[in-house]
């Protein structure tokens, strides 16, 4: 069974204090790993898709990296507006009845204090 574990569950940073969020996964064949941002009362907002180990993608203060077992979301010099829950999801190459099923982690709640 595919599994996604995100850590820490919650992270509190001061504005400008860089850090990383972790997403560990277990799948029998990774087709893609996805990062989303979710604000309270909103749907998840797409950030990145990573497909192979060694791949990196950047968007503003965010940088996502991927290894064979985990992904990191690095946040450089965060601002209060970066506060949100960050979700990681994986798509396995054998997704059963749905060939595009995403398995999500529970997320990391990031709070950036001014």
């Amino acid at each position: 069974e595919d599994q996604v574990t995100q850590s820490p569950e919650a992270l509190r940073l001061q504005e400008g204090e860089s850090s990383s969020l972790n997403c560990s996964y277990t799948v029998s064949g990774l087709r893609g790993l996805f990062w989303y941002r979710q604000d309270p009362g909103k749907g998840p907002e797409f950030l990145f898709t990573l497909y192979s180990a060694g791949e990196e993608k950047e968007k503003e203060r965010l940088k996502a990296t991927l290894t064979k077992k985990e992904s990191f979301l690095h946040i450089t010099a965060p601002k209060p507006e970066d506060s949100a829950t960050y979700l990681c999801a994986v798509q396995a190459s054998n997704s059963g009845g749905s060939n595009y099923k995403l398995t999500f982690g529970k997320g990391t709640l990031l709070t950036v204090n001014p």
Binding site: V4, G41, G43, G97, S98, Y100, L102, K106
Partner: protein, 114 residues
Amino acid sequence: SAVISQKPSRDICQRGTSLTIQCQVDSQVTMMFWYRQQPGQSLTLIATANQGSEATYESGFVIDKFPISRPNLTFSTLTVSNMSPEDSSIYLCSARLWNTGELFFGEGSRLTVL
């Protein structure tokens, strides 16, 4: 990107009643999905909405409880039938863009069952 509109955005329902959630996408999409997000939990795929045919349900979800329609490429409905308090959750529509393959989400429909 895509804009996915869901309605209602929230509702309070009585036990034993049914509610239909509508989802409209403003872009060309290949696949549409329905997810559930229970408090403190990760997103769980309910089913893949197939155009013009029966939806493909994930383990633990059945058509009698969650009938789904997709009459055209950009519109789908999810009905939550014979509701109980355990059905209180956020229901999210998502769609995969045909050109990028990225998966986008609607804002969600928050249901509370009394």
